[in-house]
Symmetry: C2
């Protein structure tokens, strides 16, 4: 009788512990999610809009960006793709057709990973665009 009672109480504590753990990692995850981008390095490849220039965003999303991301290993935290819609200033042209951004932990590691593959990366440009990109390296402040 007593052993069963003790077992029940132990299991009850285990349950409480399990539910408790359920909340903790949730919180930790949320906190990480909020803080994670600050301090990261962004490498933004920006494709200017110009008359007569084209950009195949499907190829960019399904082939080019995954290829480059594949070179970056653990240094890559995430990458994003955005499609230019309009200038936010009335009566001015669209500044960029598209922007691809790599969020990395370390810039020199990024450069070391891209360097040996730069010819392959550049050769792939012609498969989706005929415009030369502007590239901004920046630090996430917030």
């Amino acid at each position: 009788m007593k052993i069963k009672l003790v077992l029940s109480v132990l299991l009850l504590f285990a349950c409480v512990a399990a539910f408790g753990q359920e909340k903790q990692p949730g919180k930790a995850r949320k906190q990480k999610q909020t803080v994670v981008e600050k301090g990261l390095i962004k490498v933004s490849i920006m494709y200017p809009f110009e008359e007569g220039k084209t950009f195949d965003i499907d190829y960019y999303e399904t082939k080019h960006m995954p290829m480059v991301a594949g070179y970056l290993g653990d240094n890559l935290v995430k990458y994003t793709i955005e499609k230019g819609m309009a200038s936010g200033i009335p009566n001015t042209p669209l500044p960029y057709m598209a922007i691809g951004t790599f969020y990395v932990k370390d810039l020199s590691e990024y450069q070391a990973a891209i360097g040996p593959n730069i010819a392959t990366i550049r050769a792939d440009f012609a498969n989706y665009t005929n415009v030369a990109p502007v590239i901004l390296v920046s630090e996430v402040v917030r």
Copy 2:
């Protein structure tokens, strides 16, 4: 005796359920976290680098961006600030000193919120920069 045994088994199931639940919301959260930016509208205010132009990123982070964010209400999902470090193309100048970005659900709601406050927003520019920004409206593809 039997009741205690049944209780123990029930508690054991409760524990398993608790640990199981611990994993499920984790997954759901992760999925939401990955998908949340896709489809959002980005309004990126980009401050070009030019000789003799200045940018006070502390004022921008602590005063200007929070002020504008305050106009946007529930439509604003998040906003980010990045500080330009370098051009990613050797021997070319830094393209932008800083970029502030609002991630919103709806562009016309954004415009309706900014419109009545545009004079106040523009008047604040002189407190942190002497360069006119480029503004890109884009859609998050990935």
